[in-house]
Structures are given as structure tokens and as C-alpha cells.
């Protein structure tokens, strides 16, 4: 028997529950499986001053292009086939957005620290690089254990047979590591393949990226999906694809082709032609205004789908 919970909502209802200045995590990776229908709804809304935390693609670009962003937290922002996201690039070069530029691994550890409710996680990644120069708030932490300390090698008297003391060699160096702080998210936006009305999510395809981690790091996750299924139909997609349990999820939108124009393998690939046209609008203000009128400032996602269908007709 299912939970009976029904968290289904429209893109507009979910965006209405968000507030100016929030920190939003966005799932997917580059130009792959981005919750674009939710992003488009934000672009159409009055929301502003957002901090966007993303393995970035056109989600970041469109939010920058429509003036929704105060700060971008990122390891990269790319359209995959087109290496550099043009609107993110422009926003950085004009100073329109602040940036927290991170190593991709640090980024993951920041989300994990948030998910585990610890203030930071230690890592070597970032040390020696200019990640610490551009983010001067980053601190280091000295290991309480000497290099090579191994509690499993201690004998019953607490000595390790090498230094005759308590297993710690006072002469041995303590490694200094970077303390990656938690990247706590007010909300996470994800696009998955299937979900039930309660928010249990099937992530198909070959790579779940870090969507489950974004959900865990957020106060609440909002999920768009290709199709809402009855709970009992989820298991047919394979137990191991049921990667996000409903307790993290506050809202579910049925959004077929909701990741367009990013890829949502195996259901559909990236719409490379559409993406090329999108990227080209960065070179021509009139082309951008036309793109915006056709594909963003439309009534809702259904109107967007019609506009995209009209393109190829």
C-alpha cells in the first residue's frame, strides 16, 4: 500500500513557494538532465537575488540571462558540446554576478557535509591552488593524528611497536587539510525519469550525477519527472534506480520532456540544434529578445512544448 501522500504541483506553484535570496541547488550535470521546466518557470517569475549551486549548464546561463542570480557556486558551467556557457561567461565578465569558484570534488564534499549536518569535511583537494585565494573564507584544519597513524596496528598496551609510546609518534607530522564547509541548500530542484505522487524518484540513464546528494543537502527538494507513476510501478525500473526516497521531496511536477533542451538519456538526447540557437542568441540582443519571447515568456510549460514542437514543423 502506498503512503497516500500526494505532492503533485505545477511548476508555478513550486516557484511561488520559493523566496528572494534563497540558495537553490540544481541537479543534473552540465547540459544533462537539468530541471529546465522549473528553471523556465523561475525565469518567468518575480524571484530575484538567488544563490545558485550547480554542476552548471544552461540552468545557470538562463538564470543569469534573466537577471535572477546574485551568486553562482560552481566547479564549471558548460553546455558540453559548447564548452563555455555564454550567458554565465558574460555575467562573470561584466561583474553582474558574484562567484564562489570551487573544485568539483570540494563542491561534492560541501553538499555531503550539508547532508550529514557536519560543519565541514576535510580534504586535500583545493590545497595549493587559488581556490583558497578566491575564497578567502576557506580554512584549513590540522589532523589530530600523525601521518601514518593506524589504530588497527596498536597492541593491547596501546603501543604500536614503533615508537614505544601511545601509538602516536610525536615527531611525525600532522597533515594540514582543507576544511570544506557545508553548502546548505534552502531548496534543490531536480529532474528525474519517473516518480510517484509522494516523491519517490527513479533515476534512470547511465549516471545519477549527484541528484540524491542535492536532495539530501537541501531543506526540501522539488522534483520534475518525465512521468508520475503509481508507487507499485516504480520497482519495475529496478530497485537500484530508486535513488531518492520521498521524505526529502516536497513537490512533484509531471513534466514530459521537462529537461529539454538538455539530455535526459535514455528517454531523449540533448536537442543540439536548439542549444546552438540558444547559445547564438548571446551574440545578438534581438535574437535573445526573440528567444525569450518564444520560449521563456510563455504562459506555462505546455505553451513551451508547443513552441518547441512548432520549431520543427
Amino acid at each position: 500500500m502506498s503512503s497516500g501522500l500526494d505532492k503533485r504541483a505545477s511548476e508555478e506553484a513550486i516557484v511561488a513557494s520559493l523566496a528572494d535570496g534563497m540558495t537553490l541547488g540544481v541537479g543534473g550535470w552540465g547540459s544533462r538532465r537539468k530541471p529546465m521546466s522549473l528553471i523556465r518557470a523561475i525565469c518567468r517569475s518575480e524571484l530575484k537575488d538567488l544563490t545558485v549551486v550547480s554542476y552548471g549548464g544552461p540552468d545557470v546561463g538562463l538564470l543569469c540571462a534573466t537577471g535572477k542570480v546574485r551568486k553562482v557556486v560552481y566547479g564549471f558551467v558548460s553546455l558540453d558540446a559548447i564548452p563555455l556557457e555564454p550567458y554565465f561567461r558574460r555575467a562573470r565578465q561584466s561583474g553582474a554576478v558574484e562567484a564562489v569558484s570551487l573544485d568539483e570534488g570540494m563542491f561534492q564534499l560541501g553538499l555531503r557535509a550539508a547532508a550529514w549536518r557536519v560543519p565541514f569535511l576535510p580534504t586535500r583537494s583545493g590545497l595549493g591552488s587559488d581556490v583558497t585565494r578566491v575564497n578567502p573564507w576557506l580554512e584549513t584544519v590540522e589532523s589530530p593524528y600523525p601521518v601514518g597513524f593506524d589504530p588497527l596496528k596498536l597492541d593491547s598496551s596501546g603501543t604500536d611497536g614503533t615508537d614505544g609510546t601511545d601509538g602516536t609518534d610525536v615527531n611525525s607530522e600532522r597533515e594540514v587539510l582543507l576544511a570544506m564547509p557545508a553548502l546548505r541548500l534552502d531548496a534543490a530542484l531536480l529532474h528525474v525519469h519517473r516518480a510517484d505522487a509522494a516523491g519517490n524518484c527513479v533515476i534512470g540513464g547511465s549516471d545519477p550525477y549527484f541528484d540524491d546528494l542535492f536532495a539530501a543537502a537541501a531543506d526540501r527538494a522539488y522534483v520534475s519527472c518525465e512521468a508520475v507513476l503509481p508507487t507499485e510501478a516504480l520497482k519495475a525500473h529496478g530497485l537500484r534506480s530508486l535513488l531518492i526516497p520521498r521524505m526529502a521531496v516536497a513537490g512533484v511536477v509531471e513534466a514530459p520532456r521537462g529537461a529539454h533542451f538538455t539530455a535526459c538519456e535514455p528517454d531523449y538526447g540533448r536537442d543540439e540544434g536548439f542549444q546552438r540557437d540558444y547559445a547564438a542568441t548571446a551574440k545578438d540582443p534581438a535574437a535573445w529578445e526573440d528567444f525569450r519571447a518564444r520560449y521563456i515568456d510563455v504562459t506555462d510549460e505546455a505553451a513551451y512544448r508547443e513552441a518547441v514542437a512548432g520549431r520543427s514543423a
Binding site: 566547479g75 564549471f76 563555455l84 565578465q93 573544485d103 568539483e104 586535500r124 590545497l127 595549493g128 594540514v176
Partner: protein, 238 residues
């Protein structure tokens, strides 16, 4: 794709980066680096683990061996069982690399990719670089932003720097390594037909020389007939 003689030399030099690596994951970025890694695997480093660039580990014929989503790549990276072969917008004399941005990072003149995984790669396992067009713009005295950590930065880290290794920088003209007392660049070999002067003129930093002097700099080796055959097979040409 048919390869020029110079591309074949570069492919061999890129393959040679992985010699001795054994059963670790090779992560080449870009077409020629990928060709080099496949050549190494097809010849002298058969145990190398290569991915399809998406989420699968594949054998030389493209058959899937294992699963490698991004989350697993980071676990491999932190374990150290990996050698990444990255590009670079800038590399300097100590092997610091920049792919983040040009100018002041607070408001960059040119926003590039971002730090990507370069800081973590370079501090956790072996890293090499491929520069397809050797120039003073790419090979600079000081990078604008340190994404990948070089030898001067790593030396200041103590124990935390102990897994750092920049094995080499391969360009379309030559190979640099950092086998010097202070970890500064050394010209390891010149590709056939390339002069020391040509490299000096297009390099923005001072470097020392391998070999017995300016007239005895080693020459990057050309592919063997067997390697040429593998390169032809891998590129679908003859």
C-alpha cells in the same frame, strides 16, 4: 581521421606518459590525448582502465567492462589510482595550470571553464598536460589563476603534498618534465624536426635542458611500425 607525422609523434609522447602506470584509471581529455591513452593500453600498458567519457569503463573494442559514473570518478581520484591528462589555457614554469579564467578572478577579463577538478586532481594523483598549440600565450611565466597545482605550490604543503606529481607537459613541439632540483621545467625532448630555438621563441618561461647540452637534446621518438598500425586502426585510417 588521418594523422600527420607530427600528430603520430605527439600520440606516442602522450602514450608514453602512462608507461609504468599499471592498473589505474587513465583520464585523457580531448581527442589526441584519448588516442595516446588507447595506444598505451593497446601496446605497453594493457591493464590501464579507460572510460568511454560517459559512465562506462570500456575495453579497446568498446565493450563495457564496468560502471564509472561521476561519483565513482571522485572516489577513484581520491584513492589516487588515476592519472589525468588535462588541457590547459596556461601552464607555467613550475607546472601550475590555469583553466579557470584570465585576468582578475573577482571580475575576469575572460571567464574560462572554472576550476573543474584540477585542484583535486593535482594534489591527489599524477597529472600531465597536453598543449596542442605551443605558444607564449599558453606557456607563461606565471599563470593568472592556479587551477592545477605546480611544484612550487606543492612543495609548500608538507605532508599534504605527498601525492603530487606533474609527470610531463606534451606540446605540438616538445615534451617538458620537471625533473629538476626545484621542480622547474626541463625540456625533455624535441619532436623530430623542431629546433631548440623554435621552442625558446614560443615559450614564455625559462627552462633547463635534458641531455648533455643544447646540441644533445633527446628527440621524441617516432612510432614503431606496430604502433603506426595501432594508430591507423584506432583512427579508422590507413
Amino acid at each position: 581521421m588521418s594523422l600527420t607525422a607530427r600528430q603520430r609523434v605527439c600520440a606516442v609522447a602522450l602514450a608514453e606518459l602512462f608507461r609504468g602506470d599499471g592498473e589505474i584509471m587513465a583520464s585523457p581529455m580531448g581527442p589526441l590525448p584519448a588516442l595516446g591513452a588507447k595506444l598505451a593500453k593497446a601496446t605497453f600498458e594493457p591493464a590501464l582502465v579507460l572510460t568511454d567519457g560517459v559512465a562506462s569503463v570500456v575495453d579497446p573494442d568498446g565493450a563495457t567492462e564496468s560502471w564509472m559514473p561521476y561519483r565513482a570518478v571522485f572516489d577513484v581520484l581520491w584513492s589516487g589510482r588515476r592519472h589525468v591528462l588535462m588541457g590547459a589555457s596556461q601552464v607555467d614554469r613550475f607546472g601550475n595550470q590555469n583553466i579557470a579564467c584570465l585576468g582578475d578572478p573577482a571580475r575576469p577579463k575572460v571567464q574560462l571553464l572554472g576550476f573543474r577538478g584540477a585542484p583535486g586532481n593535482t594534489i591527489n594523483h599524477t597529472t600531465s598536460y597536453w598543449i596542442p598549440k605551443h605558444s607564449k600565450r599558453a606557456l607563461v611565466e606565471r599563470v593568472d589563476v592556479v587551477s592545477g597545482v605546480g611544484y612550487d605550490r606543492a612543495a609548500a604543503l608538507g605532508a599534504a603534498g605527498r601525492f603530487h606529481e606533474i609527470r610531463a607537459v606534451v606540446t605540438d613541439l616538445c615534451v617538458f618534465d620537471f625533473k629538476t632540483p626545484d621542480g622547474s621545467a626541463r625540456l625533455k625532448s624535441l619532436h623530430p624536426g623542431v629546433s631548440l630555438e623554435a621552442v625558446q621563441e614560443s615559450t614564455g618561461f625559462q627552462f633547463s635542458l635534458a641531455g648533455a647540452g643544447p646540441d644533445a637534446i633527446p628527440v621524441s621518438r617516432s612510432p614503431t611500425p606496430a604502433e603506426d598500425a595501432v594508430l591507423d586502426r584506432l583512427t579508422g585510417g590507413a
